[in-house]
Symmetry: C2
Subunit: 190 residues, 2 copies
């Protein structure tokens, strides 16, 4: 369990055995079933979550009750509502399990303490959030210019493992198209 996150962290920073021990001591294991919610809109989010096993979606529900899926998370990804986590405002996102999930949670106080005690984690989280920023900006640019087929191919490249784990209507929602259009695109590409 802890080895998974230690391997993940060690891709970016090198920890001593004592630092590894200190890091894993702040992790809380969470198990959720498919369809359970990790975060509900309006929550005050105190945790940052690392996905050990399973797959989740982060979505936003607009005033007309339409759901917009903004992100999927799977093994080795981090997920939270970072606006709520960092700025102490109610969450605007809802994060729901699409499969049974095992997560490791870090409380924000423990994360802040970790950053003070082992400043290498500043580097780790800087690189993680930089990648998230670049990825989100790339998605904004795609939505401005790419056609549906291009965006589907981009999704397929970014989440190759998810194609067969996620319901078609969730993928279609993420791409902002109708499920029928997704089926048509897939047929065209075969």
């Amino acid at each position: 369990m802890h080895q998974v996150i230690l391997n993940h962290v060690s891709k970016i920073i090198t920890l001593t055995p004592e630092e590894k021990e200190e890091f894993v001591s702040i992790l809380q294991e969470i198990k959720l079933s498919k369809k359970e919610k990790l975060i509900t809109e309006g929550d005050n989010v105190d945790y940052n979550y690392f996905v050990v096993k399973g797959c989740l979606k982060a979505s936003y529900t607009d005033d007309s009750e339409n759901e917009h899926i903004l992100q999927f998370a799977m093994e080795d990804w981090w997920i939270s509502d970072y606006e709520s986590f960092f700025n102490h405002v109610p969450a605007r996102l809802t994060v729901e399990c699409l499969e049974d999930c095992t997560l490791l949670a870090i409380h924000k106080d423990a994360q802040n303490e970790l950053l003070k005690r082992i400043p290498k984690f500043e580097r780790f989280f800087r690189i993680k959030i930089t990648n998230a920023f670049i990825s989100l900006r790339a998605r904004v640019l795609s939505s401005l210019s790419k056609n549906t087929k291009e965006r589907y191919l981009e999704f397929y490249e970014k989440y190759p493992q998810l194609e067969h784990r996620i319901a078609n209507y969730h993928i279609a929602n993420f791409l902002g198209i109708k499920p029928e259009s997704l089926s048509r695109i897939r047929k065209e590409l075969v």
Copy 2:
């Protein structure tokens, strides 16, 4: 000149006199005139820029040659094409001066060296990029649900100083509306 960026940095981290000296030694001053381009789509971007004076826009041009303004930057903001800066790919953004600008540029090699020599800067850049990520995600959520008037008010709150410095058609472009709609909204709000 350097005092401006040192004040900016000192809001997040505390530097010793020697560290301040080392930090300012890697900064390159750049002066550009209104309408000059700091970054052109296709460039390999090697610099991260801090705005000492002036105002710029970062935009994306789609395949139909339509410009989409994604961000404004003014005093005390950082700007670059971070996808290009971090991932060594050609820039997709164009960054242009809307006023005469004075900038401080940090080369990516110098920034990496700085992070090694003064790890406090990991914290500084982590917090900066986290804020950028939260702000971008908030903008995505607004575009999904808020109406034009709400988005204008949000712009006004976020960039109160820019309202009178930026041409109406640039603000309208940023909000994804026609300049006439912006005039109408402003009249309604007076």
